[in-house]
C-alpha cells in the first residue's frame, strides 16, 4: 500500500513536469473565416454573385486578480469588460469599410495580485495566445510591470484601474490611461470641503503603496494651496488590520477631516474602526472602498463616508453634456449600461465595472475611427481621440513626457446616505451641478 502511494506521488511529480514541458495549449489565433452572405436583403437577380464577408476575431488579452488583495475590484472590472465584449459580439461585431466583420475574444489569466508572473503571463498572451490588444491588470503596480512587455512587443494596452501618474511618464508610446490620474483623485473633495468648512483641519492617512502615495502626493499641495491645515500625515502598511494606534494619532492631532485610505480591504476596515471608536470626525474621504457597492455591508459604519469615484450611475454623463461641450458622443447611455450590467451580474455597477466596460468601448471606437485593427492605425486614432461616453471624457496627453496620460476625465464625490426607507445608498454630492443629494456634514455618529 505504502509502495503504491509512493509510486503514485512520484508519478504526480513526473506528470507535473511533463505537463509543464508540453503546457502550450491550442492557440486561439485570429480567425479569418469567410462567410458567404447575400449582398442585400432585397430580392436580387439570380445572376448576381454573393458578397464574401471576412469575419475576423480579435483577441484581447489581460490578467485579472482572481485571488489576492485586488480580487474584488479586479473582478468587477473584468465583468464590465466582458459585458462590452458580449454586447458587441451579440450585435454582430464591428463592420469595417472593406466589409470585414470584427468580433472579439478575451484571453485572461490569474495574476494573483502579485508581479511575480505578470510579465510571464503578458508575454504568453502576446506570443502564444496572439493577443491583438491588451487591457491592463487591475492596480498601478501590476500595470507598471505589464506595460514594459506591451511596449516591448509593440502592443497597445488600455489601462483601467491603474491611476498612478508615474507609469505614463516612462517614455511609453502604446499605453493609454482611462482613469483620472491618481494625483487628481482628491481635488474634487478638497473643492467641496472649501464650501463645507474652509477651516477644516485635515489628517491624511493613507496606505503605503504606489497608488495611494501618488494620490496623497497630489492631495497635500492642493489642500495647502486651498488654505487647509494638514495636521497629520500618516502612512500604514497594506495589510494593516488594526488602525487603533493611527486613530489615536488622529484624535491627538485635532483633525476634523480624514482623507486617505488605499484599496478595498484596508479602506473598509479603516472606516469601520473609525466608526467604532466614535472619535467625532466630521468628514471622512476614503479611496476605492466607498464607491464599491459591497461597502454598504459595513452598515452604519458606512453612513456619511465619502470617496472619489471615476463614475457613478446616478450622475452618469450624457449625450447632452457632450453636445454642450462640443465633443463627440459614443456608446450607450449610463442607464442602458447600468441596466445591462445589473441584468448580467445581478449587481449595480461600480466605477471599476464602468472602467472595464469603457476600456472596451474605447478600443471599439478607436478601431472604428481607424477603420482597421492594425496597431499603428488604432494607436493614431487613440492619440487623436477626444470623446465623451457615459463614463465621461476621454482624451490623452500626446506629449513625449507623459504620453497616454488621461487628461479628459474628471471625478465625482460620493457619500453613503440613508434613503427614505432607511437603506444605505450611494449619493453623488459633488460637483454641485451633478449632485443627487447635499452632503451630510458633519457626520453624525450615533
Amino acid at each position: 500500500m505504502k509502495r503504491t502511494l509512493f509510486n503514485l506521488f512520484a508519478l504526480l511529480i513526473v506528470l507535473s513536469l511533463a505537463l509543464t514541458a508540453c503546457g502550450g495549449k491550442a492557440t486561439p489565433a485570429p480567425t479569418e473565416a469567410p462567410v458567404v452572405v447575400p449582398a442585400t436583403e432585397a430580392p436580387v437577380p439570380a445572376t448576381e454573385a454573393p458578397v464574401v464577408v471576412v469575419e475576423k476575431t480579435i483577441t484581447i488579452g489581460f490578467t485579472a486578480s482572481q485571488t489576492g488583495a485586488q480580487e474584488v475590484s479586479s473582478k468587477r472590472q473584468v465583468n464590465g469588460f466582458n459585458l462590452w465584449m458580449n454586447q458587441v459580439n451579440e450585435a454582430g461585431g464591428l463592420t469595417l469599410s472593406d466589409g470585414t466583420v470584427v468580433k472579439f475574444a478575451a484571453q485572461s489569466y490569474d495574476d494573483e495580485s502579485t508581479k511575480e508572473r505578470v510579465q510571464e503571463l503578458y508575454t504568453r498572451l502576446i506570443t502564444e495566445d496572439n493577443a491583438d490588444f491588451l487591457i491592463s491588470p487591475y492596480s498601478s503596480g501590476l500595470t507598471a510591470a505589464a506595460a514594459v512587455i506591451a511596449e516591448q512587443n509593440g502592443k497597445l494596452m488600455i489601462t483601467t484601474g491603474a491611476a498612478d501618474d508615474d507609469t505614463y511618464k516612462q517614455g511609453y508610446t502604446g499605453v493609454f490611461q482611462l482613469y483620472t490620474p491618481g494625483s487628481l483623485y482628491f481635488t474634487s473633495t478638497v473643492d467641496m470641503l472649501k464650501t463645507l468648512d474652509p477651516a477644516a483641519k485635515i489628517a491624511i492617512v493613507n496606505e503605503s503603496d504606489k497608488f495611494s502615495t501618488a494620490v496623497v502626493g497630489g492631495l497635500k499641495p492642493y489642500a495647502e494651496a486651498a488654505g487647509f491645515e494638514i495636521v497629520l500625515e500618516e502612512a500604514y502598511a497594506s495589510d494593516t488590520a488594526d488602525f487603533g494606534p493611527i486613530i489615536n494619532k488622529i484624535v491627538d492631532s485635532g483633525a476634523t477631516v480624514v482623507l486617505g485610505g488605499g484599496h478595498y480591504p484596508d479602506g473598509s476596515t479603516f472606516a469601520r474602526q473609525l466608526y467604532e471608536r466614535k472619535v467625532g470626525i466630521q468628514f471622512i474621504g476614503i479611496l476605492v472602498a466607498p464607491p464599491d457597492s459591497k461597502f454598504s455591508e459595513l452598515g452604519d459604519a458606512a453612513l456619511g463616508v465619502t470617496g472619489p469615484s471615476q463614475w457613478e450611475g446616478k450622475a452618469t454623463h450624457t449625450e447632452e453634456e457632450a453636445n454642450a461641450l462640443g465633443i463627440e458622443w459614443f456608446g450607450p447611455s449610463g442607464a442602458e449600461f447600468s441596466a445591462a450590467f445589473e441584468a448580467a451580474y445581478g449587481d449595480k455597477p461600480t466605477y471599476h465595472a464602468a472602467g472595464g466596460y469603457a476600456a472596451g468601448l474605447l478600443l471599439e471606437k478607436a478601431i472604428r475611427n481607424a477603420d482597421s485593427v492594425d496597431s499603428e492605425a488604432v494607436k493614431a486614432a487613440l492619440d487623436a481621440m477626444n470623446l465623451f461616453t457615459f463614463y465621461g471624457g476621454i482624451k490623452f496627453d500626446t506629449s513625449a513626457e507623459a504620453h497616454g496620460l488621461q487628461i479628459g476625465h474628471s471625478m465625482v464625490v460620493i457619500q453613503w446616505q440613508k434613503n427614505d426607507a432607511g437603506e444605505l445608498v450611494r449619493e453623488v454630492i459633488w460637483p454641485a451641478d451633478v449632485a443627487t443629494k447635499p452632503a451630510i456634514f458633519p457626520i453624525v455618529v450615533p
Binding site: A10, G23, D110, R117, R124, V148, Y172
Partner: protein, 323 residues
C-alpha cells in the same frame, strides 16, 4: 570514466539548467523564455537558500530579504545613478552579502525556532525601512525609464539578455552549492547541522562557519533581485520583500531534498513548473491555487525527505549520482 563518476553530482544539475536555457532558443518562443526565467530564478534562489537551510540546518523564513535589499541597492544605482546593469548586479550581490554578514553576527547566535522567527522579523523590518526611505522612493518605489533599455539594444534584447544572465546566475549558485558541499568548509556545515555542539568539540568554529554560509547564501539572491527589477522596470517595497516568497523557497528546497545539490533544482523546477502550468491551464486556471496547495500537501506528507532524499533511500546506487 572515473572523472565522470566523480563529477556526475555537478554535471547532472548543470545539464538541467543548460536544458532550461536552451529550451526557449530551440522553441523560439518568448513565452517559453519567460517561463524558463521564472524557473531559473527559483533555482538560483532555492540553491542559495539550500546553503544555509540544507547544509547548516538553519531555517530562514525571511531569506527573500536579500533578494529585496540587494535588488533595491542595485536598481537604485541603475535607475537613479545611471550605472550599468553589470556594476549594479555586482553591487546588489555585495550589499546583500554585507547585510548577511552583519545580520549573521547578530542573529546566528540564535538556534531553531528563535532563529526562524528572527529572520521573519528582519524581513519585515527591512520592508518597513525601505518603505520609509525616501532615497529609494519610499512606498512608490523606483521606476526605470523605458529608454534605459536602449543601452542594451532595446527592451526586447534587454529582456532576452536578462534571461541568459539569470541562467548564468543559476549556474553560479549551483557551482557555489556544489563546491561548498564537497569542501572541508561544507563538511563543517554538515556537522553543525547534525549537532552544533559536537561539531564545535570536533574543531568547527560554528559562529564563523554559519556566518559565512549565511553570506554565501545571500549574494546570489541580491544579484537576482537587481536583474528581476531591471526586467520588471520598477520596484515597490511589497514586491521586494514578499514573505510568501520565502516560504515558497523553503517548499522548493524541501520538495526536492534539502542538503543536496540537485534537490533544490528539482524542487524549484517542479514547484514553479506546476504553478506555471496550472495558472495557464484552461481547466485548472480558476482553481490553480487550491490544486497546487493540495498537491504540495500530498507530496510533503508522503515524501518528507524530498524527491532526491527519497530516490537516494529507495535506490542506493543513485547515491553516487545524486549529490
Amino acid at each position: 570514466m572515473r572523472n565522470l563518476q566523480k563529477y556526475i553530482g555537478i554535471i547532472l544539475p548543470l545539464l538541467v539548467v543548460a536544458a532550461l536555457m536552451l529550451y526557449p532558443t530551440i522553441t523560439g518562443k518568448a513565452a517559453a523564455r519567460e517561463t524558463a526565467f521564472t524557473i531559473l530564478k527559483a533555482i538560483a534562489l532555492a540553491s542559495s537558500l539550500n546553503i544555509l537551510l540544507g547544509y547548516t540546518g538553519y531555517v530562514s523564513f525571511g531569506h527573500i530579504v536579500f533578494f529585496g535589499f540587494g535588488g533595491y541597492v542595485g536598481f537604485y544605482l541603475l535607475s537613479s545613478q545611471g550605472m550599468s546593469l553589470w556594476v549594479s548586479i555586482l553591487a546588489g550581490g555585495f550589499s546583500s552579502g554585507l547585510l548577511a554578514f552583519l545580520l549573521g553576527k547578530a542573529i546566528l547566535r540564535l538556534r531553531g525556532a528563535y532563529f526562524a522567527l528572527a529572520t521573519i522579523g528582519v524581513n519585515e523590518a527591512m520592508r518597513a525601512f525601505i518603505n520609509n526611505f525616501d532615497l529609494f522612493g519610499g512606498p512608490t518605489g523606483i521606476t526605470l525609464n523605458f529608454k534605459a533599455y536602449l543601452a542594451y539594444g532595446g527592451a526586447a534584447k534587454a529582456l532576452e539578455m536578462a534571461f541568459y544572465v539569470v541562467g548564468g546566475l543559476a549556474i553560479l549558485a549551483i557551482l557555489m552549492s556544489y563546491i561548498i558541499r564537497t569542501s572541508k568548509f561544507g563538511l563543517g556545515l554538515l556537522a553543525i547541522r547534525e549537532n552544533e555542539d559536537a561539531a564545535e568539540v570536533m574543531g568547527v568554529f560554528a559562529p564563523d562557519a554559519k556566518t559565512w554560509a549565511y553570506v554565501l547564501s545571500a549574494i546570489i539572491p541580491g544579484m537576482i533581485g537587481v536583474l528581476f527589477f531591471f526586467k520588471n522596470g520598477n520596484v515597490e517595497p511589497h514586491d521586494a520583500f514578499p514573505l510568501h516568497a520565502s516560504i515558497e523557497l523553503l517548499v522548493m528546497v524541501m520538495l526536492g531534498g534539502q542538503g543536496t545539490v540537485l534537490g533544490p533544482i528539482l524542487g524549484a523546477f517542479a514547484y514553479q513548473g506546476m504553478r506555471g502550468y496550472l495558472v495557464t491551464s484552461d481547466f485548472f486556471k480558476d482553481i490553480q491555487l487550491s490544486v497546487s496547495g493540495a498537491l504540495l500537501l500530498i507530496i510533503v506528507l508522503f515524501i518528507p525527505a524530498g524527491a532526491v532524499g527519497w530516490l537516494r533511500q529507495r535506490f542506493p546506487i543513485l547515491r553516487r549520482v545524486l549529490a
